[in-house]
């Protein structure tokens, strides 16, 4: 159970705890690189990185992809911190990393000065419209990458919890290999 929790917290750590080093490395590299590439696709220097991972349950912006992204564990948890801050009216941290965007019209610039179609709200938070307009299809691509990373980590968690799901013939082969190695 602890291995499953560790596997959810950081991909591969559950397997590392069990001493399955090869699978730990494979899970960590595959899942983390997919997630990080998704964060890279879904952000830029101006708007902040990782804008595709955010927690929101507001009217008109129910962020269902986060239910898949939370499968990543710790790497997706800053979104909950940011969502909590924004709900309480505090400005988001880390240049808006994983922060929910504003739903305002966006008639301000980054510093809060009124400007038509500026893309930011009065407090300087980027709007959801600007995210989609500026990032275009990369917003969806980043969302898909991070969602798949989260779902893959659920598979890894299951593997850490219950061991590998053997295919019947494959199990026999691998058991025979292990017996042969033991005899040697």
């Amino acid at each position: 159970m602890l291995a499953a929790f560790l596997a959810w917290l950081v991909p591969g750590v559950g397997h590392l705890y069990q001493g399955r080093l090869g699978k730990a490395g494979l899970c960590f590299v595959c899942i983390m690189s997919t997630f990080l590439y998704g964060l890279y696709l879904g952000g830029n220097k101006q708007l902040g990185w990782g804008r595709v991972v955010y927690a929101s349950w507001r009217e008109g912006d129910k962020r269902l992809p986060y239910l898949c992204q939370i499968g990543m564990g710790l790497p997706a948890l800053p979104a909950l911190v940011q969502a909590n801050r924004v709900r309480k009216g505090n400005p988001p941290l880390w240049n808006g990393f994983m922060a929910p965007p504003s739903q305002a019209r966006g008639d301000f610039d980054r510093s809060g000065q009124p400007i038509s179609h500026g893309g930011f709200d009065e407090s300087g938070r980027v709007t959801i419209n600007k995210l989609h307009y500026d990032m275009n299809r990369f917003f969806e691509l980043g969302t898909v990458y991070t969602m798949i990373a989260g779902l893959l980590n659920i598979l890894a968690v299951y593997d850490a919890w219950g061991g590998p799901v053997f295919i019947e013939s494959g199990r026999k082969d691998e058991e025979e290999e292990e017996k042969a190695e033991d005899e040697e």
Partner: protein
């Protein structure tokens, strides 16, 4: 990769000038589709196919050899399935 993918934009109703130029040149749509494969968003599927096939296979085997072999088979299966869906959508697009 972001910048490279931005270069190709498929013709649509928002680019009437480009559409008229293509029809003037008499370029078949099939050739455009094939050309798009070389420089398009389809390449974004490749890292996903690799990651999904490796992690899925890792849940089926314990040793690295069988994992890699199974991942190769699953990867080919996924690409083949996507190719079949591509062909079906292409055929449907001809009839519509």
């Amino acid at each position: 990769m972001k910048a490279a993918a931005c270069r190709f934009e498929a013709p649509n109703s928002q680019h009437p000038t480009l559409n008229s130029q293509l029809s003037t040149l008499n370029i078949p749509m099939d050739n455009l589709l094939l050309a798009a494969v070389g420089n398009s968003d389809m390449w974004y599927a490749l890292p996903l196919v690799i990651a999904v096939s490796l992690v899925y296979s890792a849940t089926r085997h314990e040793r690295m050899g069988p994992i890699l072999g199974h991942a190769l088979r699953i990867g080919v299966w996924i690409v083949g399935f996507m190719a079949m869906v591509f062909v079906v959508l292409l055929l449907i697009s001809w009839w519509l």
